[in-house]
Amino acid sequence: MVNLSLQTEPQITTVPPYYLPPTPTLKNYEFVLNAEQAVKERLKYFGIGGEFLPAVATQYPRAIVNSIVTALLIVGINLAAGTLASYTFTRGRFWGRMKLFYATIAGRLIPPVAVVVPYYIILFNFKLLDTIPAVVMIHAYFTLPLTIWVLNTYLATIPEDIEDAARVDGYSRMETLRKVVFPLIKPGIVAIGIISFMMSWTEFFFAFMVTKTEAARTLPVIVGFMSAQPVKPIGIIMASGLLAMIPALIIIAVFRRYLIRGLVAGAVR
């Protein structure tokens, strides 16, 4: 993939294929970020009726912003709502809490194709179709069950005595959560944050279905669209795919240790 992204179009379509780019070029990356220039150069090179660039390619820079915004919002929602819900499930004693917990986990079992049309209707009614909040809501729905489940196993390892002590000292329940429990489960929180980021970042199907214009399309949607064209500039697509991976790679490289440590205490038992 890296290989292809560094080759020019004619080099890519040679037989036998190159294992390494003969003349590495960053042209494709430039094209991804600046579609208009790409169109001009390609016209010059291939002439009219030759290779063309899918129109959605112009939406790429906007899609980067969309993807980042969506994924960060998802991380925020998972950290806030997920922690709150998981904590309430773990410590609260109320009627029907087991049933509610099962229902929460079962939410993960729903096949995406089953719910996509109802989504369309719901979002249409709320006038949310083709907006970032819509994509965020949907991603929140399918990341939260896993968050709640993993954090539950994690929270269960924290002795309740610590919290009781804090409560005796006059903290309210929310203060206890914020000042006592939260620091203790930080590794788990980091792990959850990353997992939800990844899920949101790579999700294609829902984002594909509920977006129509560049206002809310995320990166996988753009790449998917480009690849659905009958004639595709494979080098540019590969470059765009690679660019789409970069944030994920950085996050993995930076947080790998925390990720594993966070899950060591949490996902087990």
Partner: protein, 294 residues
């Protein structure tokens, strides 16, 4: 500890609103629609028909075929992912030079959208410019370039492999975390007792990892039953519908044939099968019921 109502509401509502609004309400809607004749091509025929959609879809021309390909896909992908991720995790858990890099390398595909991964493999298997053809030709396995994606098994293989590539990191990560939490004393004790490597693996590693095995098995099964993106990108269900799995036909029923009743019936069946499989896993690993820990 008695929690008061206000705290519980504050705690649960932010998470449960999206969950129920976008999870169970649509599912209920799908279940409801599945009982109706609801085809956008024949809007005048809208009406309640009970379980007829369910009977209809089982008799559709694609039903057996797509079910078979779904089963093939699941039977190939799930065991490979389970065992490969366990093996990789055991490898990455060792301390040696570059183990950090290995862990990073294993996790990288996680950041790849399925769409991109699918494209990638599609190109590798390309009939004219793909590397696979070239490598096999040089190794003298094949005489001429082969149009892999127009052949049934290679096409299935391409989908399976791109799916595995992207799905593998999360199970590996979970196993890795599990392995690192095994107390070293257990191994030392077993060494004193003179246990062989295999016995050690069975008695300690596997036993300790059982709960994670369960989580991984469930996640993998779900994602492989509901697999869609790689099919859409790589083969669009071809050749001759060999890779058109049941999810793909649900999609077609909905967006190409515009028969929402049929599509909902199919989707609801997938949901039921998922639940049955999950209970089967709990039973097989004898974990008892899924429980909330406090």
């Amino acid at each position: 500890m008695k929690g008061d109502l206000k705290d519980i509401l504050i705690g649960l509502l932010p998470a449960l609103i999206p969950l129920f609004l976008l999870g169970f309400y649509p599912l209920g809607y799908a279940a409801y629609v599945s009982l109706f004749r609801f085809n956008l091509k024949y809007p005048d025929q809208y009406g309640f028909i009970g379980g007829k959609n369910y009977v209809d879809v089982t008799q559709m021309y694609y039903f057996i075929g797509s079910l078979t390909s779904s089963v093939i896909f699941a039977l190939v992908a799930i065991p490979i992912i389970l065992f490969a991720s366990l093996a990789l995790a055991m490898l990455a858990a060792r301390k040696f030079r570059g183990s950090g890099f290995l862990q990073w390398l294993i996790l990288v595909p996680w950041g790849i959208p399925y769409v991109v991964a699918g494209l990638d493999w599609k190109w590798l298997f390309d009939s004219n410019y793909g590397l696979i053809n070239d490598i096999l030709l040089k190794l003298k396995v094949i005489d001429t370039y082969q149009p892999w994606l127009t052949m049934q098994w290679p096409a299935m293989f391409a989908i399976v492999i791109s799916f595995i590539w992207v799905t593998l990191p999360l199970p590996t990560l979970l196993f890795l975390a599990g392995i690192q939490s095994i107390p070293q004393e257990l191994y030392e004790a077993s060494q004193v007792d003179g246990a062989k490597a295999l016995a050690r693996f069975r008695a300690i590693t596997f036993t300790w990892l059982k709960p994670i095995f369960l989580i991984v098995a469930i996640l993998t099964t779900l994602s492989s039953i509901q697999v869609f993106d790689p099919i859409y990108v790589i083969t669009q269900g071809g050749p001759a519908d060999f890779t058109a799995m049941i999810t793909f036909y649900t999609f077609l029923e909905m967006f190409n044939f515009l028969d929402f009743g049929h599509a909902s019936a199919l989707a609801f069946m997938i949901f039921i099968v998922s639940i049955i499989l999950i209970f089967a896993y709990f039973y097989a690993l004898r974990m008892g019921r899924l429980r909330l820990r406090a």
